[in-house]
Amino acid sequence: MTALLQIERFSVRYGRLLAVKDVSLEAHAGEVTTVIGPNGAGKTSLVNAIMGLVPFEGSLAFPAWPGASRSIEARIRARISLVPETRDLFGPMSVLDNLRLGAFALRREAGFDMASRLAEIFALFPRLAERRDQRADTLSGGERQMLALGRALMLRPSFLMLDEPSLGLAPMIVAEMFRIIQRLKDDGVSILLIEQNARAALRISDRAYVLENGAVHLAGKAGEIAADPRVIDAYLGGSMALADSGRQRVSGRR
């Protein structure tokens, strides 16, 4: 298994506040790696620093793409993509423009075909095709999340970071979101998933980290983490039997 992302003794500081302290983490090719933890645990700071949006201390390497850790543009050239927690859509612009700009970095690449790229995204999210000429800031919460994900997928990412894709969405849309993440995984996209929805996240993950107060509290295979009594207590709200029975429960948040 090749590691796509390796961080060691990784810290993020905002002035005197230490949001992420001494975190070490690995994400492997073809896997879904998930980071769960309560609000304010430093999950978003972690993933933003990995993308290069905020400064960090410690070591960060993308072994498959040397040089990618140099700048955001270098990461994007290596097809590393982030769907941020805040979505960061271009509100006054149309859905279509938002998607086209998702492939901005590819526009000069040989063999790049905007139309076929768009068609693929519209096949994945038929809803966006219906709303292609609508302004992004008039979309519903679920549609916005689809657009943010669709925009990131325009890049055809090899490593995709998703920050709370289910945040603030209705249960049915959350289920849809996780189906799409599963489908991306089946298509071979490696994913770093940041979630508060621990139950659903652990179910589709291979490797999991529990982040608390900026530090890694537990780490291991997703199955082992899901069976850990401390995790069951704190994040899954009781027995895993419910999840194993395959019922679509999307609670488990604190």
Partner: protein, 346 residues
């Protein structure tokens, strides 16, 4: 006052308004993408006229040395940064961008503009020199502090203006100049006499604004600049470099300032320090649009031009006072209206 006088004043007002539209548009553009209030814009306007006038006199304009030094500083800054990252591709790119491009324009200005050269060529080289200054100012002054608050950026912009002012005095001397403009026989239009200069200014302004509109409407590069203005983080994560976006708008702002300078030079005597007041008038126009809405900014610029022209008829000593008084009702109106919240102002 009779109708004839009023029509002449209106025509004058619209012509200067057309120039202020260019300035206001560039100010809004720069502000929305970089949150910089581009105070030195006016200096670039004045420098353009001073450059053109030096070419007309068959001299080498001081702009050549300003661009040379600025390019030197920018290239050194870039080299230091590229060396720190050991990034050879970036070093090469910066040499082309901040070294080769200004060098070509400078060499053209040094050797290819004899006194007998046609006016259009002199204008083009003057505009080229000034346009080079736009991104150089961005690289040296604003890019290193791009993440600072709008207030800090404003302070830096004022510092840059004061610096350029002194450099301008040194490079061009204290004399005022007037340049040549559109010439030819006056035209009669709906019973009004329109000078070729007025027609030329209006036409150029319309062409530039239309070109800007098309650039932002259609190509993905233009959409990307708008995207950087709407959401900086969103732009960064799709690979739109905010540095490149800033550089591009400063190229556009430099070009807009240069064109304004070429248009205004024949009708107003410009000194090395005339730019500030001109920039301020564009700024009043931009404020009408809340630094965010282009059509309103353009309307504001036309209003400024018209008010200025009528004010100079009635109370010519106070015309600038009258123009700047405009800003008070405008600010009052903007503070009570809910129209277009200033989302760029954070």
């Amino acid at each position: 006052m009779n109708t004839d006088v009023a029509m002449i004043l209106l025509q004058d007002g619209l012509v200067s308004g057309a120039i202020y539209i260019l300035l206001a548009t560039a100010l809004v553009l720069v502000f929305s993408v970089t949150r910089v209030i581009f105070v030195p814009q006016g200096d670039l306007v004045a420098f353009t006229a001073l450059t053109l006038s030096a070419f007309e006199a068959g001299e080498r304009p001081g702009t050549i040395w300003i661009v040379t030094f600025a390019a030197g500083i920018a290239v050194s800054l870039e080299m230091v940064e590229a060396a720190r990252w050991r990034d050879r591709a970036r070093a090469l790119q910066s040499l082309l961008r901040f070294g080769l491009v200004p060098a070509v324009v400078i060499l053209a200005a040094l050797f290819l503009v004899p006194k007998t050269a046609p006016l259009v060529w002199k204008m083009a080289v003057s505009a080229g020199l000034i346009t080079c200054l736009g991104p150089l100012i961005y690289r040296i002054v604003f890019q290193p502090m791009a993440a600072a608050s709008p207030l800090v950026l404003l302070i830096a912009a004022i510092a840059a203006h004061l610096g350029l002012n002194s450099i301008g005095l040194h490079a061009f001397g204290p004399e005022g100049v007037r340049t040549e403009g559109f010439s030819g026989a006056p035209l009669a239009l709906f019973g009004m006499i329109v000078t070729p200069q007025a027609a030329g200014v209006l036409a150029s302004s319309v062409v530039v604004v239309a070109a800007l509109y098309l650039f932002f409407r259609f190509p993905l590069r233009g959409r990307a600049l708008l995207a950087a203005a709407h959401n900086r983080r969103g732009a960064e994560i799709v690979g739109i470099s905010t540095v490149a976006a800033g550089r591009t708008v400063f190229v556009l702002a430099g070009l807009a300032a240069a064109i304004s300078g070429l248009l205004i030079g024949p009708t107003t005597t410009l000194y090395y320090d005339s730019g500030f007041i001109l920039g301020l008038k564009g700024f009043v126009g931009a404020i009408v649009g809340g630094m965010a809405v282009y059509p309103l900014a353009a309307a504001g610029a036309l209003l400024v031009g018209t008010v200025e022209s009528f004010a100079s008829f009635w109370a010519s000593a106070y015309r600038d006072v009258v123009v700047f008084l405009l800003i008070i009702p405008v600010l009052f109106w903007r503070s009570v209206s809910v129209l277009a919240p200033e989302d760029g102002l954070e």
